[in-house]
Symmetry: C2
Subunit: 204 residues, 2 copies
């Protein structure tokens, strides 16, 4: 059985790579689907879970000062609960069969399985260009804003991983293959990665 995890820098095309690779190998693909599952299992709002996992911001508990002594416990606990559920969901997915899981430090969460762990990265100008080309209609970040956004999102990913392990997010030591997509069409990279993955699972 083959499980491929794909870590990626924001804007590097890792998500597209994961999706296309899943198509090429006929593997199940999990990304957003993991959030849907958490939402269902925990009976929380989609926005609440997404806020925690995608934005790294605290959900809308009201912070009260003055008369009420403030304790951050519910906020912290809410975050921890979602992270614990995410691990559970990812471990369940891994039991189901061949699949590709994008992001969420799945390489760390599934470290006891023989997963193939990829990391996708690119130079900053390629990432900015990619974000600009793929911007949804109406979104119009300046280059400076995009730089900031890329930095923030990757910092959050890195921070989440830190909660799980000493292994640094994006450090090559945590992956089997690190792929620089600068100047590439993701599509063009798929055949050889598919070939690698197939051989990898044959060997393991």
């Amino acid at each position: 059985m083959g499980i491929i995890t794909v870590g990626r820098e924001f804007g590097s095309g890792g998500r597209e790579l994961g999706k296309r690779l899943a198509d090429a190998l006929n593997y199940a693909y999990y990304d957003q689907e993991i959030i849907d599952e958490i939402v269902k299992n925990m009976q929380l709002s989609h926005k609440y879970v997404e806020n925690i996992l995608h934005e790294g911001v605290m959900p809308s508990f009201s912070y009260r000062f003055g008369n009420t002594f403030y304790t951050p416990y519910p906020v912290v606990q809410g975050t921890v609960d979602v992270l614990v559920e995410q691990q559970k969901v990812i471990k369940e997915i891994a039991q189901k069969g061949n699949c590709i899981i994008v992001g969420k430090s799945a390489n760390v969460i599934l470290k006891d399985l023989k997963t193939l762990d990829l990391f996708v990265y690119a130079d900053l100008s390629s990432k900015i260009k990619r974000c600009q080309e793929r911007a949804p209609e109406g979104e119009n970040f300046s280059e400076k804003e995009l730089k900031k956004r890329i930095k923030q999102i990757d910092a959050r990913r890195s921070r989440f991983q830190e909660a799980l392990t000493d292994l640094k997010w994006g450090a090559k030591e945590g992956y089997h293959l690190c792929i620089n997509t600068s100047g590439f069409e993701i599509k063009a990279l798929i055949p050889f990665i598919a070939e690698y993955a197939t051989r990898w699972f044959d060997l393991k």
Copy 2:
């Protein structure tokens, strides 16, 4: 024309990978040959050049104190001369046709060409195991000594690169593909890397 550079951690099997890849692709292979060329061009002893490039130690100039005021100039100049000649040799090799160059920060030296830059790495226990298996007869380093040796050699490689560029040796940003060989027979990795290289040069 295809030029592939292979950076590698000591003990990761990068040299074997480079050699086997050269055979698979029918490319010329350069590693030790670069030292031979420097020796010939500069009319220096093999040992002198090797000391500088492989061991990172200063050659046998006598250090005199006492009456004579010591200046390190000749030592420094000797090192710089060899490094400059090495760059020249590598640039000449790159003009000759399809080839694989192992080590020597060739990715940095040839940064203006469309080289394919690989980096080969492994976890420490795999590297130690590899060193033990490949030790020449009579060499019998303890695990502790091997750890130290691996650290020293990689630190020297890193230091040499620092003299050329801000790009950190072994940091994935300086390469197109980083390959973790832990637990692999190098031989088994060759077909897919050859496939990747062929596609890469087709696309460029």
